[in-house]
């Protein structure tokens, strides 16, 4: 018996005779942060959806622990104008919470004052914080964050990552985090998987402090919440995403 929250074994998704992603294996345990990175269209969201069982893999198996609370922060949500929806209604979307719980969750992400605001009046950054607040109000065992820092400026990004660290400390859930930033990940990340249609490389990130080279490059502007990920590829991709055999070692 293992104790993984989610386990993908050699998973792939086939659409219109094309593999969106193939041969992906990953495991997330309690209290662990796994970061998925890769360029656009590399199958990061597809992989996340397999780990949530929204998409069934056409190949391989996805094993999801039974009876756990799951929270999902999708990459994009657009709220139709015809739908009157306040922040509090959005937090209550899947499960009704006590007002005190909602206040707590909104405080953690720093938007408590917007509790009765219509969601369409929120800025991009505020909406991202609302998505996060809704996800943590459920106190999930497993949390999937699909590009939670998109559309957020650099200080906002650091603040959101700090929030994620607080969440991990507070509710000790397993997190699958997706980022389009290929070189910088959250410093608390336990494991990084670089995707491009398949797993290109994976491993633990390097902390900034340990790498004087990077310090020299970026100075002290890099916040300690971030860390660098050192890629270790043994192949190159052609522009269409296929593997360049001529350069393979």
């Amino acid at each position: 018996m293992n104790n993984y929250l989610v386990e993908l074994n050699n998973c792939g998704v086939l659409r219109n005779h094309k593999w969106l992603v193939r041969g992906v294996s990953l495991k997330v345990s309690q209290g662990e942060i796994v970061t998925l990175i890769g360029p656009n269209g590399s199958g990061k969201s597809t992989t996340a959806k397999m780990s949530l069982d929204i998409l069934k893999p056409d190949e391989g198996t996805n094993i999801i622990k039974k009876g756990m609370r799951i929270s999902y922060v999708p990459q994009k949500i657009s709220i139709d104008w015809s739908l009157p929806l306040r922040a509090i209604d959005f937090v209550n979307l899947v499960k009704k919470h006590k007002t005190s719980e909602i206040n707590d969750a909104l405080s953690i992400t720093g938007i408590k004052h917007l509790i009765y605001e219509d969601v369409r009046n929120l800025s991009g950054g505020e909406f991202q914080r609302l998505l996060m607040a809704r996800a943590i109000a459920k106190e999930p065992h497993f949390l999937v964050l699909d590009e939670p820092v998109q559309g957020v400026d650099y200080p906002g990004e650091i603040a959101l990552y700090k929030t994620i660290q607080e969440i991990v400390k507070k509710i000790n859930c397993g997190i699958l985090l997706i980022s389009h930033n290929l070189h910088v990940v959250m410093s608390q990340t336990d494991y990084v998987i670089c995707l491009n249609g398949h797993v290109c490389c994976s491993g633990a990130p390097n902390t900034v402090i340990k790498e004087p080279e990077y310090l020299k490059l970026f100075g002290k502007n890099i916040d300690p919440t971030l860390a660098f990920y050192q890629h270790d590829h043994d192949h190159e991709h052609l522009p269409d995403g296929s593997i360049d055999d001529s350069k393979k070692e």
Binding site: I77, P84, D89, L93, D118
Partner: protein, 275 residues
């Protein structure tokens, strides 16, 4: 008490407007107005079949609507046509089939105008029972599936990921629309029912700031329009179904007036003064 046809008309109209309120909100939120229209169009085929086989009209309409929903699902998977084209294809072809069948089965005498525009003054006690019991069941089921249906309306994948079953809720919701259309044929007719679903909900949108508020206000607007509509039609001797719809439009136009804005800006000014 239900001996009087006017009383029956009021009872039927009010009962229907209660349920079209919240159901109409979901139709507006999910952009399904054309879907409602399509089901309503195909109701004619259901009615003709019911007459031909000497079968209950409401159940026949329900069966035809379900077949229609299934055909839509099938076409969505088999073709790359956009939904509105598929719905148009189904709505008008099934309406045409209904009319052709009506021509072939010349022994059937149907009041076509009554079918298209409703005849609320001819509602009998059996119809009333269908409206109130059927409508009651629809309302209860809607309340039961509210959370997965609503969460799926906001974001389908999020609802699925977090353990709800929005697909099942959507399927049940389709059945609910079909049921309401089936029980409404005699009251407002198949050409006008979509209006009774959409217009009160749209008017309510202009007044509400939460989803539940919108559903409740939508019901209130619907009921008020039915009462006013029946009274007006009696005074001016106009067709009742269309009169009700005209009143809902009047309410919608009223809600466009910047009443709420005036109230809010007044509040804001007061707040400002306090500071």
């Amino acid at each position: 008490m239900f001996d009087d046809f006017i009383v029956r008309a009021f009872a039927a109209g009010i009962g229907l407007a209660f349920i079209t309120g919240p159901l109409g909100c979901f139709i507006v939120w999910r952009r399904l107005s054309y879907f409602g229209d399509t089901i309503a169009h195909t109701a004619l085929l259901g009615v003709v079949t019911a007459y031909a086989l000497d079968f209950n009209i409401i159940i026949a309409v329900l069966v035809v609507s379900c077949l229609l929903a299934l055909s839509l699902l099938f076409l969505q998977r088999r073709t790359n046509l956009p939904d509105d084209a598929l719905l148009g294809l189904l709505a008008h072809s099934v309406l045409a089939i209904g009319l052709v069948l009506l021509g072939i089965l010349s022994f059937i005498r149907i009041d076509l105008m009554g079918l298209l525009f409703g005849d609320i003054l001819s509602v009998n006690v059996t119809d009333l029972l269908f409206v109130w019991i059927g409508g009651g069941i629809v309302l209860i089921v809607l309340i039961l599936i509210w959370r997965p249906l609503f969460a799926g309306t906001v974001n389908l994948e999020l609802a699925k990921a977090e353990g709800l079953n929005p697909d099942l809720a959507n399927a049940i919701f389709t059945l609910l629309i079909a049921s309401v259309i089936a029980i409404s044929i005699k009251i407002v007719g198949i050409l006008l029912i979509t209006g009774l679903l959409i217009i009160p909900a749209s008017a309510s949108r202009n007044l509400s700031s939460t989803p539940i508020q919108m559903a409740i206000i939508s019901s209130i607007i619907g009921v008020a329009s039915v009462v006013l509509g029946i009274l007006t039609s009696m005074i001016w001797n106009t067709p009742t179904g269309p009169t009700i719809l005209t009143i809902t439009l009047g309410v919608f136009i009223l809600t466009l007036l910047p009443l709420k804005k005036l109230l809010i800006s007044k509040k804001k000014i007061e707040l400002f003064d306090k500071r």
